[in-house]
Amino acid sequence: MSAATPVLSMRGIGKSFTGVRALDDVSLDCHAGEVHAICGENGAGKSTLMKVLGGVYRPDEGEILLGGQPVAFRHPVEARRAGISIIHQELSLLPERSVADNIFLGLEPTRSGLLDRAVMQNGARRLLERVGARVHPGALVKSLSIAEQQLVEIAKALALDASIIVMDEPTAALDDRDAGRLLELVGTLRREGAAVLYISHRMAELKAIADRITVLKDGKLVATHTAAALTPAMIVRLMVGRDLADFFPTPGDPAKLGPIVLSVQDGGNAVLADIALDLRAGEIVGIAGLEGSGKGALGRALFGDEPFTRGRMMIDGHEGLISSPRTAIAAGIGFLSDDRKREGIAPQQSLRDNVLMTLRAFAQRLLPPGSGAMARTAADRQLTEVDVRAAGFAQEIRELSGGNQQKVVIGRWLARDPKLLIFLEPTRGIDVAAKAAIYQLMRSLADRGRAILMISSDLPEIIGVSDRVIVMHEGRLAGELKRGASEEQVMHLALGTGATEAAA
């Protein structure tokens, strides 16, 4: 490995933003046919480093060498022309354009000056097949799921025929089946001689595909090791600078289970059927399933966002129909969306205004905004209780990291003391330390007599946090597993290969 000149070499990169040192003397290289993983907590400098590489930022110090030649990009286009393709975490697709249009955006094939649609359609189809997306090239991007969009984004990067491919948490939005296919694709790219920089929080992935792993912390490079030399525990320790012995909380005491808080019989709507479910105070119920299994739809149905159109619901012993989020909240249900940016926060409002949003939604309109339970001290207590880390509570919430935003939204629900909290992908895109904090929070909420429904695509989280696991398949409950079930058991049910009777 050392004999060949690396395809990419970054030397002593430094970058500051108005006094904050985002990157400090970071050096790493990547060879042809190598997958070099980069990990670190949110804010460790991973994305800044990738933006320097992609020509979005210019480094204050250091240099970038491509095949041994120094380069200086003044614009992302120059980086793309030099063969660097970056798949960003935030999707950059145009929702109103077709998949093929997006894949060839800026590289449109032409014939005598006109767009060559046939070449575009065929090229797009080939690329989509390669990334394993079952998507029509003519489909509008907005009609696709987040997971499908992610695959299109990757196909778009491949259209460039880049020698260096950067993937920033590409599997964050994918379920295990799609993620597995993506990892195979990374393997193929490596065999074809691409140099791949791979940013991820998922330990299992890093072990599966990385050749080398570099850990960043607070803008500095902590260590670069061969993947074989590191265990997940070692990686976590390098990332957070300490052990996370109690990453998952201790399970709940089955003897302390309270009464049934919510019960559904024969629930169904356009995507769900035959939902029968009892949730008890004091338990965390995990809902697992593949993308499209209806697990997200179940959460939205219980919260009245896409309500059940059939069946019966009992809330706290009363028969009730939940027809909108507002009626759900009035009945004592809280909901944490999987799309924090679009559905969770009001980005320009302060932390206090965000944490008080639900209390105010049910207050008299003409009351002062800080009266009674909405007082500033109450808001601050709530924010402190969920352990939000911020410069000040008057700060706009958009300036916070994802994990802290998530805590504010959780705090919003706690202010109303709900009986049931529905968490949709509660830790997506959140760093390891914040994840652990959110798991602990969920546990302590359950221990204090709330029911928690956690819907997640992250299997280790489902297994590590839930008191029992319900697996969904094609809009139905495929089976239920006790605490301590294995990932294999969950996958069997999720794939529909395990019989319902086999479940405990």
Binding site: T18, G19, F303, D305, P325, R326, I329, A330, F335, S337, R342, E343, G344, I345, A346, P347, Q348, Q349, D353, L356, M357, T358, R360, A361, F362, A363, Q364, R365, L366, L367, P368, P369, M374, E396, R412
Partner: protein, 327 residues
């Protein structure tokens, strides 16, 4: 050590610059220039007369501000002003006894217009810019039909007094126009509603992220309907004042909705919602009105005034975008 100091200094300076409302700064410069050309503006009486004439625009901007804060636009304000003035003269027919019930009817019309705007936006999911553009055309048509194409009747004296009565020999200020008293009351009401009530926070939340607000339980539809009602009621109020000193004409409200939007933006309100201040909207309207006054004093023709208004709007939006990026 020195590095920290070097970093805190510019950020404090930057925070100070961001803290000043652009609208206030622009207004002070413009008003100063006017007063240099026309020294009477330096006197209390001159200023109060200036306020009296600016009152309708300020009231319109305060109403528009609620719609903007909630993430929409109300383009129907100007035509509702026209309808108020024409309708007022038709209904009252010059008889002072008719004034009070006429004003009641005008507010009912305003309430109806606001409800229709709000319901079309919420229930039919029509973007507010289109919904209220439709309302603009309908109201203009209705005003012309009702008045038969030309202004008829006239406003009774006690109706017109609301816009042009000036109390003399008032302590401290010397004079006090009735419309300035109405203006102060209205602005105080708007400031209270937007900044000191739960409703104001709901409006800002809905404007900032309607989806998040809905999932947090905020009654998004009702909030949207209410902001359009507030906007329409403020248009009727502005129309009543304007009828007092501008007289009855079919063009009295023309273009006022755009001036109101421009005033809000100059005052730092963010188009598409989530950020708004009544102080800003007042300062923005005063700036805009001072600009018109200045261009008038300089003897510039109407078309040039409109061109300048457009340029100001672009500059205000660009500067607020620039400040957002710095933030």
């Amino acid at each position: 050590m020195s590095a920290t100091a070097a970093h805190t200094a510019p950020s404090a300076a930057l925070r100070f610059v961001r803290g000043i409302n652009v609208g206030v700064a622009i207004f002070l410069v413009l008003y100063g220039t006017i007063a240099v050309l026309q020294p009477s503006y330096f006197e209390v009486e001159g200023f109060l007369n200036f306020l009296r004439r600016a009152a309708p625009l300020i009231i319109l901007a305060c109403g528009q501000l609620f719609v903007i804060a909630g993430g929409g636009f109300d383009l129907s304000m100007g035509s509702l002003v026209t309808l108020t003035v024409l309708g007022g003269s038709m209904l009252a027919g010059g008889n002072p006894e008719n004034t009070w019930w006429t004003i009641g009817v005008l507010y009912l019309i305003g309430l109806g217009v606001g409800l229709v705007n709000g319901l079309v936006v919420t229930l039919l999911k029509v973007p507010s810019i289109i919904a209220t553009l439709g309302m603009l055309l309908s109201l203009n048509g209705a005003a012309l039909m009702w008045s038969g194409g030309a202004p008829r009747g006239y406003l009774p004296e006690n109706f017109r007094a609301l816009g042009r009565l000036v109390y003399r020999e008032v302590p401290v200020t010397g004079i006090m126009p009735l419309s300035v008293i109405i203006l102060i009351g209205f602005v105080a009401l708007a400031a209270w509603l937007l900044h000191a009530t739960v409703f104001g926070r709901q409006v800002l939340a809905v404007g900032d992220n309607p989806r998040a607000a809905e999932l947090a339980g905020v009654p998004v539809g009702a909030t949207r309907v209410l902001v359009f009602v507030i906007s329409a009621l403020s248009a009727v109020t502005a129309g009543i004042l304007l009828g007092g000193f501008a007289g009855v004409s079919t063009a009295v409200g023309q273009g006022l909705e755009l001036q109101a939007i421009a005033a809000c933006v100059i005052g730092g309100a963010q188009l598409l919602g989530g950020r708004a201040s009544v102080t800003g909207a007042v300062a923005g309207s005063l700036s805009l009105f001072a600009l018109f006054t200045l261009l008038n004093l300089m003897g510039l023709p109407q078309p040039l005034r409109e061109t300048v208004q457009g340029l100001i709007l672009i500059a205000a939006v660009a500067s607020s975008a620039w400040r957002m990026r710095r933030a």
